[in-house]
């Protein structure tokens, strides 16, 4: 029977494995998992019931939806996974898990080689050192990466691609692997369900269709939760007519973090954030400009602030002394110029292109110009809109740079996320190693508890933006990490043939909870004559404004130049609690608003985690991303550690605690080069 808005249909399904999300990570999981599922069937006749659920359409879902112009993690045959783990650590101010980074590092190129085989055009350098775009390279007969082809490096770890259809290609392979029957698109997952008999075990997940009046409830032994990071929890710089423009595509709403926390999974480094300095208003990528075109950024008076303010790096030993300063410290130097009134900040595209012209032929110059535009057209069309709308030709006119509002993510240049079980062969701490005091009793000790990428909730796995304390995985690393998790998930299901999860709520309770914003609307809509004005409910949009205002003004948003302190955090804490209470009054007048309501709920929990972690960590670990003005220093003695937390969905309270940080690769190598 087809459901109605008043009485939605409830669809119930039992699975072995559920994948939540259809981004880079889940596409990797699907690809790897289905091959192992085939092997299992061939060897034992046993068939696993697997399903992938995405809130959008996989061809264009997630952060890679618009395309990309570079693959930011490719190790190549000349670098060591240990170098990669060191870079990740350095950019994230020393607090990352080397086991996770190293494992991504040694496996990531396999995924990149597959992407190329599937049809992603990858730029190549020929024997004469001439660059060719991906299609031309193939026509010229240049070898594939896997056969020794040389990519065009835009940086130490990045390679250039023609990536307008990047996600389309990766999704096609994942969809082929799964088969269309195992895919549900346009279903938004609202919450995970724990096991009735063991609250530390997963039992399933529930959500609703954004197209039909249907609620979906899945029982599953194992769940992959990879629904991306979180955008729009802070008031964005672009409001009003520009709203919707943000650096991070607006569709990832913290679902990964909120649902994991509610399920009781241990979170890690939720104080971390990413504040990219990008082309102002369009948020176009700057990587190619800095790395490939060798452009410099300067204040309004032409001063290169990285040189001018370099002494400021000495305030943060040893991180300030690295050959390449961490992203946050680069912001720190830029912010000084802005705060002291020497903005706007510019990317000097004019000088960079003029210099390149001196060395190149007219044909190469034309190609170069196309490259500069492609960089935007492949992944951030809105930036081109600004350039043409403002008559900006990069060879004639410089472009403004600006640090954005903060975003939370774990796979780009950020490391917030979920605490997961890592690989066992890299020397990571085990249960026998010493841990800091204060870690709740029920949580595992050591960095491995049986299954790669499993969270501290049995059967709940994550990858990509979900895995915390790593970062710099990017598109390729997220795919590879999803693949590593797939094996852990299959193993978990095979090792536990007897688990028969039971829900800790009835299906009626689950369905009613999901439909609550609709009920709020239907019950009260006739109380007033204007649909948006009603004392009995709050529209998701208004609630979002309230959240963004709190975060912006008290939790180090752009309004305060990323400053906060203990007192401001206390205020935020109180206000967020009230907001969480009021979120129960959100209304949904249609399915689209129901989506918005639950996205905002996920944002609130994510925001709360962020705020609590910043409050707990009594230092400013990421100068340039945020400052606690009451503790405005990096404190290596007391805070060179992870900050982790758990959330209790019954009492709605967070508990934060420290975990010991251990190096698995030698970090001192980072700092030697810069010491003289």
């Amino acid at each position: 029977m087809a459901g109605t808005f008043e009485a939605p249909e409830v669809v119930y399904e039992e699975l072995d494995i559920l994948l939540v999300g259809g981004g880079m990570a889940c596409c990797g999981t699907a690809y790897e998992m289905m091959r192992w599922a085939e092997a299992l069937k061939a060897e034992t006749g046993k068939e696993l019931k697997i399903k992938l659920v995405d809130k959008a359409a996989m061809d264009r879902s997630g952060a890679v939806a618009q395309g990309l112009s570079a693959i930011n993690t490719y190790i190549g045959d000349k670098q060591d996974p240990a170098d990669y783990a060191r870079m990740v650590s350095n950019d994230l101010m020393g607090i990352t898990r080397d086991d996770l980074a190293y494992d991504v590092g040694r496996n990531v190129d396999d995924s990149v080689h597959l992407f190329e085989e599937w049809g992603l055009p990858i730029w190549k350098t020929d024997a004469e050192g001439v660059r060719h775009d991906g299609a031309e390279a193939q026509k010229e007969g240049l070898p594939a990466l896997k056969d020794g082809g040389q990519p065009v490096r835009s940086g130490k770890w990045q390679i250039m691609i023609n990536g307008e259809s990047y996600k389309w290609i990766v999704a096609e392979a994942a969809k082929k692997a799964l088969g269309l029957d195992r895919i549900m698109e346009r279903v938004f997952i609202v919450h995970l369900i724990n096991d009735k008999n063991d609250p530390t075990r997963i039992a399933g997940a529930a959500g609703f269709s954004v197209r039909e009046n249907k609620i979906y409830i899945y029982k599953a032994k194992a769940v992959m939760l990879a629904a991306g990071g979180c955008v729009n929890l802070f008031r964005p710089r672009s409001v009003g007519e520009g709203s919707g423009r943000a650096w991070y595509p607006v569709w990832n709403a913290g679902s990964t973090y909120a649902m994991a926390a509610e399920a009781g999974a241990e979170m890690t480094m939720m104080e971390n954030r990413f504040v990219p300095a990008r082309f102002k208003d369009g948020y176009g990528p700057v990587g190619a400009w800095f790395l490939l075109f060798k452009a410099k950024a300067a204040n309004a008076y032409g001063e290169d602030y990285m040189t001018k303010n370099k002494e400021m790096l000495n305030d943060y030993p040893p991180y300030g002394q690295a050959a390449v300063p961490a992203s946050c410290l680069r912001n720190h130097l830029m912010l000084k110029e802005m705060k002291e009134g020497r903005g706007p900040i510019y990317m000097d595209t004019v000088t960079a292109l003029a210099k390149l012209r001196e060395a190149l032929s007219p044909k190469e110059v034309k190609h170069l110009e196309a490259e500069a535009w492609e960089d935007f057209l492949d992944m951030c069309i809105g930036q081109c809109g600004i350039w043409v709308g403002e008559n900006i030709e990069p060879e004639k006119k410089m472009s403004e740079l600006m640090p954005t509002e903060p975003y939370l993510l774990g796979s780009h240049s950020g490391c917030c996320g979920i605490w997961v079980s890592g690989p066992t062969d890299l020397g990571a701490p085990t249960a026998a190693d010493e841990e800091l005091a204060g870690v709740p009793e029920h949580l595992p000790r050591g960095w491995n508890w049986g299954y790669r990428s499993m969270t501290t909730i049995k059967g709940l796995f994550t990858a990509g933006d979900g895995v915390g304390a790593s970062g710099h995985k990017f598109s390729s690393g997220s795919h590879a990490e999803g693949r590593l998790a797939a094996k852990g998930m299959v193993k978990y299901v095979l090792d536990n043939p007897d688990i028969n999860p039971e829900f800790d709520e009835t299906t009626e309770e689950i369905a009613e909870a999901i439909w609550k914003p609709v009920r709020n609307f239907l019950q009260h809509k006739d109380y007033t004559t204007a649909i948006d004005v009603n004392p009995n409910y709050i529209t998701p949009k208004m609630l979002q404004f309230r959240l963004q205002k709190i975060m912006d003004e008290y939790v180090a948003g752009v309004a305060t130049y990323y400053n906060t302190n203990d007192k401001m955090l206390e205020k935020a804490e109180e206000k967020l609690e009230m907001l969480k209470e009021d979120s129960q009054k959100m209304r949904a007048k249609d399915l689209h608003e129901l989506l918005r309501a639950w996205e905002n709920y996920h944002r609130i929990l994510t925001a709360e985690a962020h705020m609590k972690h910043i409050q707990f960590r009594e230092e400013s670990r990421y100068p340039g991303f945020y400052y606690r003005t009451d503790k405005n220093f990096v404190d290596e003695t007391n805070w060179h550690c992870f900050v982790n937390s758990i959330y209790d969905k019954k009492s709605k309270q967070w508990t934060c605690f420290k975990r010991k940080h251990v190096d698995l690769v030698d970090k001192s190598k980072l700092f030697k080069a810069a010491a003289h």
């Binding site: 040694r106 692997a177 057209l377 062969d425």
Partner: protein, 75 residues
């Protein structure tokens, strides 16, 4: 800004406020849409290898970077 997306490339026509026109053409993929044979020529893993590190294509995609063991200081 006007895109024209074909099967192997995308063409862009962009027009500036001052009327300047630019046209670009970029490749988007090197295989036909829908043609990916995702497991074609790929090994069928053995379940006994499920716990071995690496992905199932490790032996043939040339992407596994074993790393210098001396770099792992706690091993």
């Amino acid at each position: 800004m006007q895109p024209l997306r074909g099967s192997d490339s995308i063409m862009w026509t962009i027009k500036f406020r001052n009327g300047t026109l630019k046209r670009f053409k970029f490749p988007i993929r090197t295989t036909a849409e829908g043609s990916i044979d995702c497991y074609g020529g790929k090994p069928m893993p053995k379940m006994s290898e499920l716990t071995v590190d690496g992905v199932f294509t490790r032996s043939m995609m040339g992407g596994f970077r074993a790393g210098n063991p001396a770099e792992l200081i706690r091993k």
